[in-house]
Every structure is written in C-alpha cells, then in structure tokens.
Symmetry: D3
Subunit: 240 residues, 6 copies
C-alpha cells in the first residue's frame, strides 16, 4: 500500500497553481506551484539577439535558473557568492531553454530575445518541471506583449509545452514526485511534451537498480497523463 | 507643490507589510514590502561559526543580498552567471550584516551562525532599507526557534533595528524614496536606527549639489520619524 | 534511400576498437574508437575519498571530460584558458560518473576513489557514449590492479555498462550517429545500458519536430542491439 | 585624560604632507601622508570613455584602490593572487570615484577619462580619507596637463574636495583616527566635504553602542575643522 | 660510472619519433615522442589575427600547452576544472610561442593566425622541448596547407627550430633528461636553437648548487649536438 | 657610436640606491632603484609553512610580484580588478622565489616562511632584476629580525644573490638595459648569480635574430661584472 502526502494517488499531480502578473516589471511574470514547490518565472523581452543570431532575422529564447539559498531544507551556498553556477544549475537551465525553443518559431519571433528567469522560491521536488511549465505561460505573456505593442504581427508560439517528473518509488510508478519521493526513488525521469502530445525531451536515470522497458512504458504513460492536465491548467491560466 | 505617488506626504512612509512564515524551510522567513519594493528575508540557523569565531564561545550573524534578474525595470545580469557579485551588492550585504550585529549579543547567541538572505523579488527603491527592516523580523523568528528548541536559554537580541531612506528631492526633504524619487534626488541618505532611537549607520551621498548641515538635520528628523513607525510595524508583526 | 558513410546500415555500429594500456602511468588506460571518434579514458586510483564519503567505509567513482581544442572541425577555446568548463562539458562528465557508479558497489570498493578522465583526441560524433564505453574498460583495469595489489579482496563491479547514441535522421531511425548525422538529425538520444540489458540512462531530445512513442520504441530497440555488441567488444578487449 | 600618539589634541590632524610628481609617468602623481599612513595617488588621462558615456560628449572620472600586501601590521593576501577584490576594497574605490566626480564637471572635461589609482604604501588608519584628499591633487595636476596640452580649454574642476575620519574614542570625539584609535573606537565616521564646506558624503557606523544626535553634531564639527585644514594643505601643495 | 635508462650515453638523445597527420581535423597534427614522453602538437589556421595585429598586414603564431590529468605518475588536477592554468603552464606556452615566432616571418604569413596546441599525452621529462620540436613540424604542415590552398604565395618559415633539455646529473653533463634524471639533477637547462645553429632561448636553473661557466659551456655543447639531430629528424619526418 | 642615457658606458650600471626600512611594518622593507626603476621589496616573516613543508622541520621562501597600474608609460589594468595575474607576472614571481631559495638553507630557517613582495612603484626596464637584488636585502633584514628575536639561532643565508639584465642593442652588448634599450634590443638576457660568482639562473631570449655563442660569452662577462658591483652595493647597504 502506498501512502503519498495528502492522500495522493500514484497517478495524481500535486495541486498546481499558476499566478500571472506576479511581479510588475517583466513582460511575463508567473508564480507557479506544484504543491510546495514554488518557482517565479519571468520572461523579459530584449530588442537584441546573441552574436550567433545577429543579422539572421531570427530571434532567440534562452533561460537561466536559480535557487534562493534557503529554498531548500538546509541552506545552500549562494552561487553568486561562490562565483560560479553548479553543473546541476547549468544542466537545468539548458534544458528549460531547449524546451521553450522547441515550440517557438524563431523566424516568426524576429530579432528579439526572450530571456526567461526561473527562480525557485521554495523547493519540494520537481523544480525543473515546474520551471518549464510556468515559463511557457510567462513566454506566452511576453509574446502577447510583443503583439500588443505592434512589434511582431502574430504569435510565434506553435503549441504549448509542459514538463513533469515520474519515477518508480518502492516498485510503484508514480507521477510528479515530491522531495521525499524523489530522494528515495529507484528511477527518476523528467519528461517534456508538447500540447499535441509529442515528446520533446526524456531524461531518465536509474538511481538504484536499472529499469526495464516495462517500467519505461508505465512511466511514459503517467507522464502523458500528467502533462495533459498541466496543459489544461496552462490554458485556463492564460484565459483567466 | 510636491506630488508623490498615491498622494503621499513628504514625511509619509509607503505602505509597509510584513508577512512572516513566507517560505517553510527557513527558521525565519519574512516577505516585507515598502510599497512596490518586495524583499524576501530568510534567517537560517547553522550550528557552526566562521573560522574567526571558532572556539570563542560567540556566535555570528551575517547577511547576503541578491536581486532577481528581473526585479528591476530592465533585466540585469544574473550575478551567478557573471561569476561575481557587483560592488553594490557587496556594499549592501556588508551593511545589512553590520546592522543586525549591532543589536545581537554574540556571546549570548553562543556558537551558532544566523545566516540572513535578502532577495529582492521586486524593486522600487529602498531595497536595502526594506532588507534590514525585514531581516530583523526574520532573525527574531530564528532566535525564537533557537529558544523554543532549547538550544539557547534566552534571546540575545538587545533591541529592534530598522532602516529607512531619506533624500532631498527638488529641494524638499522626503521620507522613504521610491525608485523615481531616488533617481532624481540631490541627496540620498540611508539611516539605520535602533528601537531606542540610537544611530547605527548613516550613509549620505550628494548625488548632485553638496548638501548643507541644515539639510542633514531635516533628513535625520524624517528618518527618526520613519524608523519609529517601522519599529511599531515590526512589533505588530512579531506579535501577530 | 539512405547513404551512411562507408556503406553502413542504419542499425550498424561504426568500427569499434578498444586499446588497453595506451599510456603507462594510469592504473587503467584505454583508447577507444567509434569510427573516427577517439577518446582516451584513464582510470586513476586514489587512496582517499571526497568529503561526503569520509569515514563511511565506501568508495567513490567520478569522471571528468575534456576535448582537446582541435579535436573538432574548427578549433574550440581551451577550457583551462577560458577559466571554466562549459555547461556541455559538465553535463557529460556528470553523466559518465553516474553511469559508472550504477555498476560499481561502492561499499565493496572500500575507501578508494576511482577518478576517470575521458579526453577526446578526435571528435566525430558520439564522444560521450564512447567515453562511457571505454571508461568501463579502464575502470575494470583499475579494479584488477586494486585486487592484484591486495588492496581489495574482490572486484566491486556488478556488471558491464556501455552507451550508444541513436537518432532519427531524415525520418530513419539510426544507430551510432557520426557528426554529420548528428548535426542533421530530428531526434537525438543517448542510451546507457548494463550488460544484463537494464536501462541506466535515457536522454532523448527533439532537435526539430517532437518525436512520437513509435519513434522512441524503434530507437530503444536499436540502442539495445548496439549496446549488446559494445558489451561483447568490451569483454573481448578485457580478455585479450 | 586622553593620550593620543605624539601629544595630539582630540581636534588635531596628524602631520599631513603632499608630494607632487612622486612618479614620472602619470599625468598626476601624488604621495600623501596622514601621519604614518602613506598613499600613492596617480591620475592617468585616457583619451576614451567607458561605454555608458560614449558619444555623450562627457568625460568620466573613476578610481581604483589597493593596499600593498605588507602595508599593514600583518601581511594580507595579495588581491591579484586571490583573484578578486574584497568587498572593502570595492566600497572604498566606489567612494573615491563618487567623491571626485562630485567636483568635476564631466561635460567640461570632454570625452576623456581620468583614471585614479590609490595604492596604500603604508597603512595606519584613514587610508580612504588620505586617498580622496591626495587624489584631488593628482586630478588637479592631470587636468592642468590637459589644459597645458591644449586638449581642453579650461579646468572642469568646480572646487576642492577632501575627506577625513572622525570618531568617538573612549567617549571623546576625535579627529583623524590612527589605526589604534580606529580599532578601539565606538563610532567611526568618514566625511567628505568640498572646499566651500558642502557635504558630499557622510558614512558613520556605530562599532559598539549606537551613537546619539549629540555625538553626530560633535563629530561633524570636528570633520569640518579638519577638512578646512586639508583644503589649505591642498592649495599650498598645488601652488608650490 | 653513469647508468641511464636503456644504456643511453650521456650525450645521447632518447628515441625520437615524429608522426604526422595524427588527427584529421587540424591543418597540422603531429605526435612526437622523446622516449616515453608523448605530445600531440596540432597547428590550426585561423583567418583572423589578435587585436594588436589587426590591420597590420601581419599574422601571428601563438601556442597553448596542456597536460592530460593522468599523463603523469600521479594524477594532477585538471586545469579546466580548477578554473585556471598554473604558472608553469603559462610559462611553457609563452616559451613555445616565442620559439615558433622566432622562425616565422609574420609579414610573409599575412593576416592569418597559426594557433598551436601542445597536449601532453604521457610525460617522462622534456615535455616543453618535445612540444617545441613537434610544433615546428605541425606548423610546417599548416603552412604547406596555406600554400597549397593558395592563401599565401610561399612559406614564411625562415628555418627550422628545435629544443632540448640538458643538465648536470650527479656531476655529469647529460643530454635530454628523462623524469628521473630531471628530478635529481643539480642544473637543468632548456635550449632552443634554429636549424642554422643560432640560439633563440636559453633557460638554465641551478636546482641545487650554482653552476659554473665551465658547466655552462659543456651543457651548451651537448644541446647543440642534440638539436642538430632533432633538426635532422624533423627534416626526415617532413619529407616522409 | 653608442649613446646611452646620461652618458652611460655599455658596461656601466645605472645608479643603484638601496634604502632599508622604507616602510615600518615589514620585518624587511627595501626600496631599490636601478636608475628610474623603483621597486619596493618587503619580506614578511610568517610562523607557518605551506602544506608541502608541514612537519618537515624546514622553512620556505616565496615571492609575489606586482606592478602599480601607472608604474608604466601607459596605464595597465590592475590585476586584482581583472581577477588574475598575467603569465608575465607569474613567471617573474616564480623566478624571484627560486633565486632567493638558492641561497637560503631551508633546514636552518626552521618552520618559518619568508614571504617576499616586490611591488614596482616606477618601471623603466629591469624590474625583475631590481626585485631580486632588493629582495635579497629585505630577506637579510627579516633573517636578522628572526635571529634578534631569538626565533632562530643563526642566519640560514649562505651567500648573497643579485640579478642583472644584459642585451645586445644595435649589435653592442650592454649591461643593465633601461626600457628604451630593452624595447629595441635583439637579445635580452637576465642573469642571476651568487656573491661567490656561481650562476643560479640564465634566461636569454632572442627578440630579433638568433644569437651566437660569442654574443653569449660577451653578455655573461658583462653580467658577471654588473653582479659583482650589485653585491658590493648590497653589502654596503646592509652595513649602513
């Protein structure tokens, strides 16, 4: 018998909330919660592109990720004070950027950069998947701003994108792991999918014993279900 | 005739809100707002002290400060990505640490470190003064936790501490400058005072023309009034 | 009709060679080639463990990855001269370390560190998969040295581990992509599996259009076939 | 009864010497001593401005500060070897730059940068105030060079600027603290004033008990006296 | 009686091998061995020059040096991971660059940079001298490529350059020290000479007792002999 | 006909002055001038040794080198602000350290470190040779302090050490090059010798055409003469 926090079923997401306009300066600013995990995702529009895009007529979407020092159970060093970002931070921000670029037509964006910042206010597992899911909403708001300001004619966003973690915990495949579940799981997988159900990224790691093809199938089915619900939550938030 | 935002009088603070327990992991966690300026102040208790205090029987209080990249009107570089903190950041975090140590008896604290993190979620002037004022409340909560857990016998906090900015804007001395007022002011001063009305820190800078002793007297009177009100707000928050 | 270099079939590996004892100082030293990709993998035994393992009775296996500046078509900056490793480098070396730890019993290793260095002498796609596959052989030699020297009683290696890339190129699922295929592919996936056929890591990314579950199934089947062959090559090399 | 070194009265400066042309390459080069504190201030003229001033028609004045490793009682780490400047160093060099800019009309300077370097040869308290006071003379010489070379028509310097420290030592307000006095004082304040007696910067810190408005008034009066004398010494040096 | 490894006479070089075309991407790529010391020297042609040569019509030749972490008896830290190159590394790469520039007519090279990378695969003494000697061959190949591609009309190389170490070991002057000899020697000298027998660089250091003019004369004679042989080996390799 | 500055003969040193006790905190503090080149050499005694000497009963002598930003004709970047020392700086400070260790018996020194700092106040060629020559005097004073304080029984200094540059300028071998001569010379050599006339370090570089054995002989004779005079100047200074 499995007991997840707050009576969650193995295939159930934590409560998801998406609050737009959380801060006032950014063109898109979203506070997303997956249960106790809270991430502030801002999307800033810059009227310039990085060197490798200069003169190409194309835009760019990039992301940075950070964790407030006491977002976690015990305080972590501030990366700015240590003088460099950890490998984990870099891995996550590269993942967020790739995921967002998968659904934005850079040609249609024109020579603008959308610079996303995902800052974890409170961490309880799933910070990278919450970041991607919230960042999509922030980017949508930034794109709407670009259209509203007459800077681009129409939205370059092709479809929605969201992400969720799945894992095998004590032999049971589960959706949307919290920190405790994540720490004790055998297999941990992050899945990024589009609104239309295509896979954009699968990152699965056996923390303990290797996993089988059967495990994999079960986990992907859970992820598909979860992402379907997240995409609905994004839609709802964007029409609110 | 002076027009401040929202009909504020020259000697009036912006709306101040202090929300305790904003995040769940830190021993003290406070979201403080001075109008549109919002800073998350967490106080983390560590059962160790820095090298220069090892074996001294004394504790330590220190602070770090950061600004989310899009807390400001235009996006600033993320310090962790640049690989170093700016001189401004270091100045502010040194100021916050000194201010807090001025009211904590390090001997009575014992060999614990209270590590304060002030992270600006949204900036509209006065981030360093909001940080000090909020950090005091977070430290109070962390100290209460230490006492409650039986780790120290009684609070090492001697009295309250708070900070406010004052400045001469278009010739008029004003209290608690917002970003626009701060950008255009002739003289900008940050004042840190204790609950009992002693000065802990005065940092005044002529941005334009030098200021006179008369200006100084007017500014200090304003600061004194403002800090009195902040200390009341801290008390109220701590007894809520 | 698909034309791969040198008449390769879509499900065919490039020529794999594994040369043990390539350099003389390291306890394990392997030059592995996947076609034109050549990586020198050394395994160094250190009689100490990192801080988080001190006194635990357990050992550690870790990896670092580097690319000689002119291993690639155009010269890349030397990371030592730039003063930091790229995010890509960090991602790869974290992956190699996790993969090796998945098959080594750290308790049985005792308080030794096996420090693996994977340095790419020439790059033509698949440097991370060649690194993992070669590093396993180098670690095996380092472990044999530990046993031979009487430092540990028996090998802590549970089973073999190898890795291969797969991808969808112009609509065709293919095994072991070279640089050209990798640059033009829609979906790129790196798979790490054990000798017994368990999955240890799956990292799939849609570079162009999202991929379907059907693509995924085809790619994993290819990977399974390739890794089976790599594990045979490892066995052969280790008994040579 | 107060005993200061060498029979100094509480309101008395240490011996001040200002030696122009101390080194031969810089456009302005001044060795200033406040007692045993010796700082070499050079002002270098560069025919370019930083990015934020490019094309503005305005010039820039900036400062860097350093301490030779054995300028102090015990050797400090060389900042160049540590790979970064301390927070203290950055605070001081920002202060020096602001102070100098307060008396230079950047428009009248034209697109030149005056880059000031203040390097402490020997430290005995008051290095930042000696730096500002000496830097003013070095900048004056650099400006004279610009005029003499026909690069600008007339001096952009509006008035003199100097700085001094004051503090409450064992309850007695004192002028120009040396290292021992500074280490033991309750309140430490650095004051920067113009030749005409306007305040440019006040930085006061309670090291021990908070200070009162009465203390503040006494300290500012001392500072005013001291700065008056320093401005005389600057004039004398510049007409020598 | 002196016993060198493998019956070497005091004035005898170790076996020298020079393998051109060792890797496929670089315009020049040479694996050179001095006995057990093996260095991969690549020469990359870049169609640009560093800032100080821009618009001068002249080219540039520069070098970087690295040591694979386990090229040595015990593993050294990876410089890219430490975040900086050691002083030793910088000294060596500056030496290699100067040596190569001594025989290349930068005007005749035109606005191209030849960027040499010397990476030590296995170290057993003499890595810097092997680097210079091998780099000359790699640069020759890169220059041949430039001529063959019609980018420059004729070779800008004036003459050959090679380097060798000499030293006094247990009182006996010896040529081409291996690691053991180098560790125990009194005087260690690296000599760089041209094909025509001119000195380009002499770097001699007394590790133990100071050396005399007589020692110096003996060492230089040995170096001259060794370099003559190396220049022959280079010629042979380049005509192979 | 050769015209050197101030009618110097080719084999003539510039005016050498050695001023002991230049600053008051260091155990040894010397301002040395070779003509217009002025270097402050301090020797600091630390009652500890670096890790590789811990518990060995031996001491250590090490050196750091720096150049004030405007010691030179045009301002150079401050290394502390750039965040790293140049390769040139590292080369020089390694040279100074090796030279001093050549004449100090580390066993006789006991577990003390003598940390030498050579900071160039004004540069006009020969800063590294002036540094070594002045550092010897500073170390002598630091050693005298150690003996006087009863920390060691007798001086561990075996003999004097000094350094000078020589070079071929327009075909003429010359002693002690100033900046102009150094910039225009064909061959530049720095020679470090002991009081008894043994060579400790020879570093010769052909800046233009390679040099011959005859040039070398002439340069070494000049160096020998110059160092003899420097050693006399050191003796004189130390007995003053």
């Amino acid at each position: 018998m499995i007991h997840r926090g707050q009576g969650r079923a193995p295939d159930q997401l934590r409560d998801v909330t998406i609050e737009r306009g959380y801060t006032k300066h950014a063109e898109g600013s979203v506070l997303i919660s997956f249960g106790e995990t809270k991430v502030l995702c801002t999307a800033s529009v810059l009227a310039k592109v990085p060197p490798h895009k200069k003169g190409s007529g194309e835009g760019w979407v990039t992301a940075e990720y950070g964790m407030l020092p006491r977002a976690t159970h015990t305080r972590s060093d501030r990366e700015a004070a240590r003088g460099k970002q950890t490998g984990r931070t870099q891995e996550i921000q590269r993942l967020i950027g790739r995921a967002l670029r998968a659904v934005v037509d850079l040609k249609a964006l024109g020579e603008y950069t959308i610079h996303v910042d995902c800052d974890v206010i409170q961490a309880d597992g799933g910070t990278r998947t919450a970041s991607i899911t919230g960042a999509y909403v922030a980017v949508s708001d930034a794109v709407a701003w670009l259209v509203r300001e007459g800077k681009i004619a129409q939205s370059p966003i092709r479809e929605a994108i969201a992400a969720i973690s799945v894992g095998v915990v004590n032999g049971v495949p589960m959706l949307d792991l919290d920190y405790n579940e994540d720490s004790g799981c055998d297999t941990d997988m992050n899945v990024v999918m589009t609104g239309a159900g295509g896979f954009v990224e699968i990152q699965g790691t056996a923390e303990g014993a290797p996993f089988s093809g059967t495990d994999l199938t079960a986990l992907l089915a859970l992820a598909q279900k979860g992402i379907g619900e997240l995409v609905e939550a994004q839609k709802l938030a964007l029409t609110a």
